[in-house]
Structures are given as structure tokens and as C-alpha cells.
Amino acid sequence: MSEKRRLLLFLVGAVGVAAVYCAGIRNMPPWGTYRGPYGDVIASLAVFQRHATDTVNAITYDYRGFDTLGEEFILFSAVTGVMLLLRPETKEKRRRATEGENPASFRDSAALSETVQVFTTGVFGFSVLFGIYIGTHGQLTPGGGFQGGVIIAAAPMLLYVAENFEAFHRILSHPLMELMEALGAAAYAVVGLIALAFGAPFLTNVLPLGKTGDVFSSGTIALISALVGVEVAAGFMLVTFEYLREILSRQKNEED
């Protein structure tokens, strides 16, 4: 197909898309209107039914908790997939068997400038604390386990940026993170199963709801949110760990 014909084909398609798009948005509601009834209903019910002031988390971890369970296992299988793809190959396996898995066997880059070090070291503690805060207050304010977990997982990445892989490796244990990821994902399902023991459907909020506004309130919402935080933090750290280890050991291999 010649250049001219291709352009013609594109123009015909673009005009068609533009026409359909314009027809589609012609009857759009005005800016900022909300017409769905469910949002208003759940926003007025969640505080009384679940003692959770953040409706979004009441939905994700309770009303639609089963969907979130599926989503969590999507992340779990994604992390498993990355680990499977980046598993050590034969040559690397042999090298690791002889040299051991100590970070000294990697060619590590030198630390960056002092400015970066000072800044990231300062932010390290803040990001761990902020992650824990966001993860444990999901039922009260915007946030929750997923957001908190990702913020916590960013802390070791900051340490890698400030120092090097050795520092990253020193504060993280690979088997421990694998265990935490698996436990976090499994505990979510177990919390759902607890409800069955009480004769209620899967993932029913059977724990005491507590006082609205307390950190330990809203029953399973806070518990599941914290468990998701553990799983997400461990999962993200694992992926970063695998990539860094793979890249650095390859650099080392090339030098040999």
C-alpha cells in the first residue's frame, strides 16, 4: 500500500471515529453531575452498617470484598510470574552455588552524591511511617492496604537509590518476603472463611465493628486492609529484588 493510500485510509477512519465520538458525547450530562443512585445509598449506609467513614474501602474490602480477593490474587500471580521469568539460569545457578548468595558476589555501583543520600535517608523513615499510617487508617480516611503497602515498598527502593544493592539486600530477606507475600494473600481468604464458621456467607463482616472513628473499628475491613498491605508491600519488594539481582549478577558475569 502506498503512502498516499494509507493516509487516505487513515483520514476516512479518523473522520468516522470523530463523527461517532461527537454523536456519543452530544448528550453527556453537565460537568460534575452524578446520576447513579448506588453511590449516594452506600455513602449514607456505610457509616451505620460497617462503622467505616471511608466508603471506598467499605466497598473494596467488604461490600465487594470478593472482587478484591480476585484482584489480590492477580497481583500475586503477576509477582509469581516475574519471579518465574527471572529465575537463575544454569550458569548463574552454578555461580551462586559456589560463591553463595552474598551481595559481595555482585558488581555493585558506588553510592550516588551526598545530596541524594541525605535526602533519601531522611525520606526513608518517613515513607515507612506514612505507609503504615495509610495502611492502618484505610477505614477512616482515603488510603488503605494497597496504597500503604506500595508506599512501604518504596522505602527500600529509596535506599537502593541512595546507597547500592548491598544496602538494599541487607535490610530485606528474600525468603521472608516470599513468606509474607504468601501469608498476606492466604490470610485474606482465611478471613473470608471465618465467616463460614459463623454460618454467614463467605467474606461477611463478622468481627465486632467497634466505635466509628477508632483505628480498630469496622471489623474485617481494617483487618483485610492491613493484610492486603502486607501482601502488596512484600510483592512489590520481591519484584524489585528479583530485577536488581538479575541485572547486577549479569553485569558481574560479563566481567568474568
Binding site: W31, G32, V150, I151, E246, I247
Partner: protein
């Protein structure tokens, strides 16, 4: 409010175009991080602070980082393969 929203949406469209038109991968990933931050602002403006929080960490940090790590790994893989090829030819 509406002007702010329209301006932000326009800015997102522009930065998406810039990402596509950037040639260097590293610059492209930095632009992608900026694009993720703009998205977080948009979620905040449209009253979804929960999504904004995850967008800041996932869209602006984790996604460009994953891309960066994956590309570094691919580069090494390609270099190793090229080396092996030249070795074979020498034999």
C-alpha cells in the same frame, strides 16, 4: 473548577503526546512518571483521593521503575546474545 479540569485533561493529552514523540527511552520514562503524576492530580480533582494515592505510587514511581528495570535487563540480554554470536563466528 471546570476550567481547572479541562486544563488538566488537556495537559494530560499533551504529555501523552510528548511521551509518544520522545525518542530516548530514559527521557520517555521520566515523561511517563510526570504523566502518572498528572493522572494522580486528575483523580484528586475528580474526588477520588483513594485512587490518587495509589496512582502517585504506582503510576509515577513503580511503573516507570519496572519499565526501567525490564529495559536494562533486555539490553544486557541483547548484548550477551550479540557477544555469543561473534564468538561463534570467530570459531
Amino acid at each position: 473548577m471546570m476550567i481547572l479540569g479541562v486544563g488538566l485533561l488537556a495537559l494530560i493529552a499533551v504529555s501523552a503526546f510528548v511521551i509518544v514523540r520522545t525518542d530516548d527511552v530514559t527521557n520517555q520514562l521520566l515523561a511517563l512518571g510526570f504523566y502518572g503524576l498528572l493522572f494522580a492530580l486528575m483523580f484528586f480533582l475528580f474526588q477520588a483521593p483513594d485512587v490518587a494515592l495509589s496512582q502517585i505510587t504506582v503510576g509515577a514511581i513503580a511503573l516507570p521503575l519496572m519499565f526501567m528495570l525490564a529495559i536494562t535487563r533486555m539490553k544486557h540480554h541483547g548484548e550477551l546474545k550479540a557477544e555469543r554470536k561473534t564468538e561463534k563466528r570467530d570459531e
